[in-house]
């Protein structure tokens, strides 16, 4: 005995600082958020920090922005997921064929991912979607159509477009890599069995991609639930609440109305929402991971 036991104790001491640090890292902000959410805490009225129970939650849930914020969040996440997965699958299958300049095309396809969200949103806002000088307007007028004021007429759709453009490369990257491990002989066997390109896609490629698609969905959901920069730099949540998602709502509560208590309550609600989403996603992904 002795040495092994001593080693175990020793290693426990050795890892304890990092464990403690991680614990603090998580516990402190969480408990502070919980604490703030239970008190009246508005920066405009200092000194009145009394305990008010769940009132903040009630305010947040009954806020006129909460309904739109919730539905916009779901709509944004759902649409971007749909667009990136469908286009991601199609594009990655397409560029998986050998053609001249394949390498360059792949790099081009991936590159939007390296652009910062704010820069991306600004480029879209000022260069592409601008109702007077934007590229889209130029195209519309070229064909003799009435130019569209995107952020006024289709604000949420514009945001979805911008975010999809940002996240499509991620889906392509993952799916393209997965396609490279698709067994060549299986495809040849299927060709001999009489499968055309569509049957090959339907019966071999798509099942093969089920797992990476699940991973794409999971990771993107986590990030898309908290989309902020794109909204902040383009529409500012408007017009009205049309492009306000939960993250933006919390921001506007906290910093525009200086109500920290309310924002904390909103934050906790968002955390719960994210956990619910994560729960279902993990089950979905876990299923497709073990289902093979």
């Amino acid at each position: 005995m002795g040495i092994a036991k001593q080693n175990a104790r020793m290693s426990r001491y050795m890892v304890s600082p990092s464990v403690l640090l991680l614990l603090l890292w998580m516990i402190v902000p969480l408990s502070m958020t919980i604490y703030f959410s239970l008190i009246r805490y508005n920066l405009l009225y200092p000194g009145e920090n009394e305990f008010i129970g769940l009132e903040n939650f009630e305010y947040f849930l009954t806020d006129e922005g909460f309904g739109p914020g919730m539905s916009n969040t779901l709509l944004l996440v759902g649409s971007v997921l749909l667009i990136t997965v469908v286009l991601g699958v199609l594009i990655s299958v397409l560029v998986n064929q050998a053609f001249w300049g394949q390498g360059i095309v792949r790099v081009l396809l991936i590159s939007p991912f390296f652009i910062m969200p704010t820069v991306n949103a600004l480029v879209w806002k000022n260069l592409l979607l601008d109702p007077v000088a934007g590229v889209f307007t130029a195209v519309w007028t070229f064909f003799g159509a009435q130019p569209i004021d995107w952020f006024t007429d289709y604000p949420l759709f514009s945001i979805i477009m911008i975010v999809s453009w940002q996240w499509l490369p991620f889906a392509i990257l993952l799916l393209m890599t997965a396609l490279q491990s698709l067994d060549q002989e299986q495809q040849e066997a299927a060709r001999l069995d009489g499968a055309g390109p569509i049957a090959l896609f339907r019966y071999l490629t798509l099942p093969h991609l089920a797992r990476p698609i699940a991973v794409v969905v999971m990771i993107e959901t986590i990030f898309l639930l908290s989309i902020f920069a794109e909204i902040f730099t383009t529409t500012g949540g408007g017009p009205g609440y049309e492009t306000t998602n939960l993250a933006y709502l919390i921001y506007s509560q906290a910093l525009l109305q200086f109500d920290v208590g309310l924002a904390s309550a909103g934050g906790l609600i968002a955390v719960i929402l994210a956990n619910v989403a994560a729960f279902f996603l993990v089950r979905l992904v876990g299923k497709s991971l073990t289902d093979k």
Binding site: E188, R191, L192, D193, G194, H208
Partner: protein, 369 residues
């Protein structure tokens, strides 16, 4: 009916020519085996027949119909891959019925065909499993089943047994032979394994560097190889080659003097052989007999002996440093470094000319004439 004719088939990847003019006739019901060293183009030839590989020039006919440019699915061929290439997301049943469903056959026909194939291959209890839940041998059977259900004109196999262990390989080999009988089908089979080639084939095609060296029945190839390559490639252990010079020719054969000074008269046709020219004498391990060192003029030193139980392979070194392999009975008791006498059976020896081509045997020449 499934006659396959290949005419002057060539295939290049860029500059390198892989198949250099293949001409081959395959008859209905034949079991044809392609053998050859690694990289000689066996798989490429098979895949060209299947239509998975575009050929550079030449033609392929199936029953007098040209199929060179036809899509793989339209050729009425089925292929079994070395890696099995089962569809991982489908059950065994679905794997086998896939082609039939794509062809739009009705459910009843499909089911009866799948059940029939499952019965032949004893896959019944496995039909609802996924490929990952099968053993290697079972996967191989599913892969074969997948080709059987289609009732193709020709079966193509690319080293189908090479991923299996030795015992299973023997079993599957027997099953394949039985299957060939039962289905009465034309089969083309690629292998590295000599035993598979010799036991399964009606016709063996020996390929080397993109060319066909010889086509013939296993026994034909064993007894009458047309050149040193075929002679050396078929037979385990390998044939031994002994360099020598032609001393004299006569109606009864060619007398050669080996570098060791030993003289041997091989009964081959002397038409194309001049005295004095360099030749190689080829002799298989089973056609050399070890005798007492005093009773033979051809002496050698025993090097390594491999005891396999049924046989012992002796590797001996002649006095002029040539290696000869000898098959002796299992109870052979020779010791390393021992000097022994050798007795070559001249009737079984092969004689190869300077270019490595076999000189036809007299018995053979008489047959042909």
């Amino acid at each position: 009916m499934a006659d396959l004719t290949i005419k002057n088939l060539r295939k290049s990847y860029g500059e390198t020519e892989i198949l250099k003019g293949i001409n081959l006739d395959i008859k209905d019901h034949e079991f044809v085996v392609f053998v050859g060293p690694s990289g000689c183009g066996k798989s490429t030839l098979l895949r060209s027949i299947a239509g998975l590989e575009e050929v550079s020039s030449g033609e392929i006919f199936l029953n007098d119909k040209e199929i060179t440019e036809l899509a793989p699915a339209k050729r009425d061929l089925a292929m079994v891959f070395q890696s099995y290439a089962l569809y991982p997301h489908m059950s065994v049943r679905k794997n086998m019925s896939f082609a039939l469903e794509l062809a739009g056959q009705d459910k009843e026909t499909i089911n009866s065909k799948v059940d029939e194939a499952a019965r032949i291959l004893e896959l019944g209890p496995l039909l609802d499993r996924k490929p990952k839940d099968l053993s290697g041998g079972q996967r191989q059977r599913v892969a074969i089943g997948r080709s059987i259900v289609r009732h193709p004109e020709i079966f193509l196999f690319d080293e189908p047994l090479s991923n299996l262990d030795a015992a299973l390989r023997v079993q599957m080999r027997l099953e394949l032979a039985r299957l060939h009988q039962d289905l009465n089908a034309t089969m083309i089979y690629v292998t590295h394994d000599q035993v598979e080639a010799m036991t399964l084939a009606d016709k063996v095609v020996v390929l080397n560097q993109g060319r066909i060296e010889q086509v013939g029945s296993p026994m034909e190839l064993y007894h009458h190889p047309v050149n040193e390559f075929v002679a050396g490639f078929l037979g385990m252990p390998k044939m031994s080659f002994l360099p020598g010079k032609v001393k004299s020719v006569s109606a009864s054969g060619v007398t050669a003097e080996l570098t060791s000074g030993y003289e041997i008269e091989v009964p081959v046709s002397s038409d194309s052989i001049q005295p004095g020219s360099d030749v190689n004498i080829g002799v298989r391990p089973e056609h050399v007999i070890i005798t007492d060192k005093n009773s033979s003029k051809f002496q050698a030193i025993l090097d390594v002996a491999e005891h396999l139980g049924s046989d012992t392979y002796c590797y001996v070194k002649t006095l002029d440093k040539q290696m000869i392999t000898i098959r002796t009975p299992g109870d052979f008791l020779g010791t390393f470094g021992e000097t022994i006498g050798l007795n070559l059976d001249p009737l079984q020896c092969h004689l190869f000319d300077t270019n490595g081509k076999a000189v036809p045997r007299l018995s053979r020449a008489a047959e042909v004439a």
